[in-house]
Amino acid sequence: MKELVILSGKGGTGKTSLTAAFAALSENSILCDADVDAADLHLLMNPEIKERTDFQGGGIAVIDPDKCTSCGTCRELCKYEAISEDFKVDEIECEGCGVCVDLCPEQAIDFPIKTCGQWFISETRFGPMVHARLGIAEENSGKLVALVRQQARAMAAEKDLSLLITDGPPGIGCPVIASIGGATAMLIVTEPTVSGKHDMERVVDLANHFKVPGMVCVNKYDLNIDQTEAIENSAKEKGITVLERVPFDPAFTKAMIQGKTLIEYDPGSKVSQIIKGIWEEVGKKLESNMSQ
């Protein structure tokens, strides 16, 4: 099984719209939305949820006021300043390290496991999809990303699907790192702006750091041709494959409003043809990475 992860560094470059278009073009594939924090792929895929499972994050400290003698040990130990003067735990600050739980002389601190989201196995018009929703203000996004990818892989194996398409989160931190380990290749979607270039370079460095082969595609390239060229040159210098450019096209937004992929919205349009070409190139790259 091959896995393509779509990333961007910078948000809003068109990652999810392209992922959805690829889903419409691919056969024998499964989709995974690894942007568990602000997931959008389901808005285009309209998934029918078949299975829904709670996501158990880590534990969280809870002080029993009846047992607490206000000795202050926990406040001294807590590196996250999560315990107030009146010995209440701030759930948002608590990192779930459990140090206070283990070292409270009165054993007054409980450590219940917190449910911090849900993950889903769904069916879409383009095949199965695994996705999730992290609770608001929750931690453990990396853990949930790792979980949805693992589930998607297991399902691909079970159903004998040959390709996993993963829509990744923005940035380069914990959820991104969790979304790329062991992938066959990653496609970085960027835009021809100073931010797009800067952020693409950091994702490329991340790809090289974790030794995942990368490809770059400049979306909305005609907004600034000079920037597009600068991005493509920078990517080539870093040993990254450069794919065909995608022009700025309001059809992306129009398709999104109708809840459709670009390919369904207007299959014959020029931009749909360009994306088909890119998808063929991506397929070849995945094949050659697999055989290496």
């Binding site: 961007s8 809003g12 602000a38 948002i92 996004s141 923005p170 940035g171 702006t193 800067h198 991340l206």
Partner: protein, 285 residues
Amino acid sequence: MIISIASGKGGTGKTTVATNLALSLPSQVQLLDCDVEEPNAHLFINPMIEKKETVSTAVPKIDEDKCTLCRKCVEICRFRAIIVIGEVILTFPELCHSCGGCMIVCPEKAISETGRELGVLEKGKKDGLEFGHGRLRVGEAMAPPLIKKVRSLSKPEGVVIIDAPPGTSCPVITAVKGVDFVLMVTEPTPFGLHDLKLAVEAVKLLGLPHGLVINRADMGDNGVKEYAAQEGLPILLEIPFDRRIAEAYSRGRLIIEEMPEWQEKFIELYQSIENIVAKVAKGKG
């Protein structure tokens, strides 16, 4: 006054609003870019960096001569950053959350502190504007401790503008917690609306006053406006889709440089924020 600029969805224009607002105000302003994974504000501000420091977090270093393989450190570590295999003890510094538990429980005092680099903190100036940002080291997973470092630069006097990362999880919460106002930037598309709703839930959870900027206001549908009306969310500014703005942005230029008449709108935006914050303060007082 501390204002965080946030949005659930990325690429909606947080940095555009943060930088233009920061450079429009006549008062003393500090701009802190807390999107440490992908900081972009400096590309538009071009500050003169005056100070650069490496930020590290404490991780354990085990003296194998003293270690008796008692496994007390393994037991307390919820992040599986220390393991014992046979006669060997191993640490995984990248998994460590720096809680310090292992050092406290080790009966042999075999564990000391060493550092894992989180990234760098940079401070600088551009004309009257004070600037600060963090750059997460490529390969580092944990953004919140570096975001806290960037926020620690904020000065009580004057206006502090924080450019927050996208999303609704811990990095964003770290960048908005305890501020006076959260300005949410969205775009009028289904993705923009969906992620805005999540962001609004997050700021409500934290009990923070908030308002909305709609960017590329004429490009999508009416969903965001309908939602704003229904929720009583004040729309404080609308920025139309204008190819001149998009092209200026692509070159690292500000709207107010390209179209100086916009400075007035950003000043008005700040005044609306001040009014809301004053009202909330009065309500609480």
